[in-house]
């Protein structure tokens, strides 16, 4: 069996007496879409923050592509190929859509101590950026100010920025949060096109999205992974139903 792309062992992070991450062990295989679900307060946000490098674990280690990245910061992890989207859309609001994506390309195109030539006239940046915008369906909105995009479009833009860093692993923190039904459906359809080509860790509340997209699901409750398995296995798991789906356990 090949080594998983992401290998998390015994991750612990406490806030005072609260162990928000309480010994999480998790592996993500190359090419799979691995969803992490759990009720509110289960510690999903804390976990993804540790995976992305925003938060240091108290114990445990994170290996990525065979390399220990536990001590690396966010920017360094991005260069290793780990890219994240945020639960609350995080884009450069006062820049154009194209500039947003060009910046993500630029961040991975060597150093930026280039002081004279206008970045906007730099084909090495905006040609790949435009290609990615077309891919996510924002090709026609390239010159619009990011702040003026509709909410769903802003989420698409964030995904475009994540893709522009040419990641080996996408950490998507609730990509359909706050979206309308149509928008949400379009986003799920788009994410489905990434399946197989990209390895994805998907933290999501929307169960339709999770069960449509996930190859495997891990269920996080009170900082612990109580089950990992295929959607069918998770659906059938009594512990999961008791802890997570609550009242439905009687059926």
């Amino acid at each position: 069996m090949t080594e998983p792309l992401l290998d998390v062992q015994g991750l612990v992070r406490a806030f005072g007496a609260l162990r928000a991450t309480d010994g999480v062990t998790l592996d993500v295989l190359a090419g799979e879409t691995h969803a992490i679900i759990g009720p509110n307060g289960a510690g999903k946000t804390t976990l993804i923050a540790q995976l992305a490098g925003n938060l240091r674990p108290d114990a445990g280690r994170i290996r990525f592509a065979g390399e220990d990245i536990t001590a690396l910061g966010t920017a360094a992890r991005s260069h290793k190929g780990l890219a994240r989207s945020f639960q609350i859309t995080s884009i450069y609001r006062e820049f154009s859509v194209l500039d947003n994506v060009s910046l993500a390309v630029q961040a991975h195109a060597g150093h930026s101590f280039r002081f004279w030539r206008a970045a906007r006239e730099d084909e090495a940046l905006h040609v790949p950026a435009r290609a990615i915008l077309n891919e996510v369906g924002l090709g026609g909105r390239a010159e619009v100010l990011a702040a003026n995009l509709a909410h769903g479009e802003q989420r698409q833009l964030e995904i475009a920025m994540v893709l522009a860093t040419e990641p080996r692993l996408l950490l998507l923190d609730e990509p359909v949060a706050g979206m309308g039904v149509d928008e949400s459906q379009r986003m799920v359809e788009f994410l489905a096109t990434l399946k197989g080509r990209q390895t994805i860790v998907l933290v999501e509340h929307d169960m339709d999205a999770v069960f449509t997209l996930a190859d495997r699901i891990s269920v996080l409750v009170y900082g612990r992974i109580i089950a990992t398995g295929t959607p069918e296995e998770i659906r059938a798991n009594r512990d999961v139903r008791a802890a997570y789906l609550g009242e439905e356990v009687e059926d």
Partner: protein, 314 residues
Amino acid sequence: MRGRLRLLLLIGGLGLIAAVPLIAAFFDQPFYIDLLRRVMIFAIAALSLNLILGYGGMVSFGHAAYLGIGGYAVAILAQHGIYDGFVQLAVAVGASALVALVIGAVSIRTSGIYFIMITLAFTQMLYYLGISLDQYGGDDGMRLAKLSDFAGLIDLNNGTAFYYLIFTIMVAFLYTVHRIVQSRFGMVIRAAKSNEPRSHAIGFSPYLYRLAAFVIAGAMCGVAGFLLVNHTAYLTPDYMHWTRSGEILFMVILGGIGTSIGPVLGAFVFLLLEDILAEWTEHWQIILGPFLILVVLFAKRGLAGLIPGGDRHD
């Protein structure tokens, strides 16, 4: 269309400034050459501050430090008999960059109010250092025995020649900042100002870029200090007084933070108003103060935002 109108206004404005010595000579009012030299020197200082404040989000409340460093570089060298302008300018720029490197390396690790306080504290330290340098004028300051000597290339004693030197530097810096903020480098510091967590997440480490911008701005302001001491032919620690830092800050805010022409506009309006009002009444601050408050309250992008055609980078 908008871009062209903006460019025409800019060229017209700069043309007008370039014509001032001719007009002043015609009306026999050399005072205005002197006044505008001072205004343009502060415009250069404001331009440099705008690079880090307007585009990098670094609210430096100690930018007058580099006016002082530039000034002291000239005056101290002159005291020891070194009048060579090229040497003095090189030392002024080098020393300013070095001091900016030290101040920046510490302060850029902080943000918000802490950044403001640390930059202020460093500049106050330099101010008191200046006061304590008795051999270089101490509290009272000292006369510059001789202006910087550019070996016949340009004579700073010639008021008009000096005027055009300052004008040229101002225009060159205006263009330089304009280029920098649109370059890859400029995009990094602007992006980090806009959304720092996002910058980290896509793989930028903004610290070194911010530090570099801080050093560039310090070096540019060092040039302003070099020019200012030659303009007044007198150096005092007051160059570095915190109110001076505040004035430069205000010129940027008045003219329009993060606009290309704003700092120049701010310096002109601030200093010319000060001059006109001071002639009127000794309580000129009572008029200038509310005016500044009104501009800040009602013109979001400063005076530059009121210009037809707009003035912004996006």
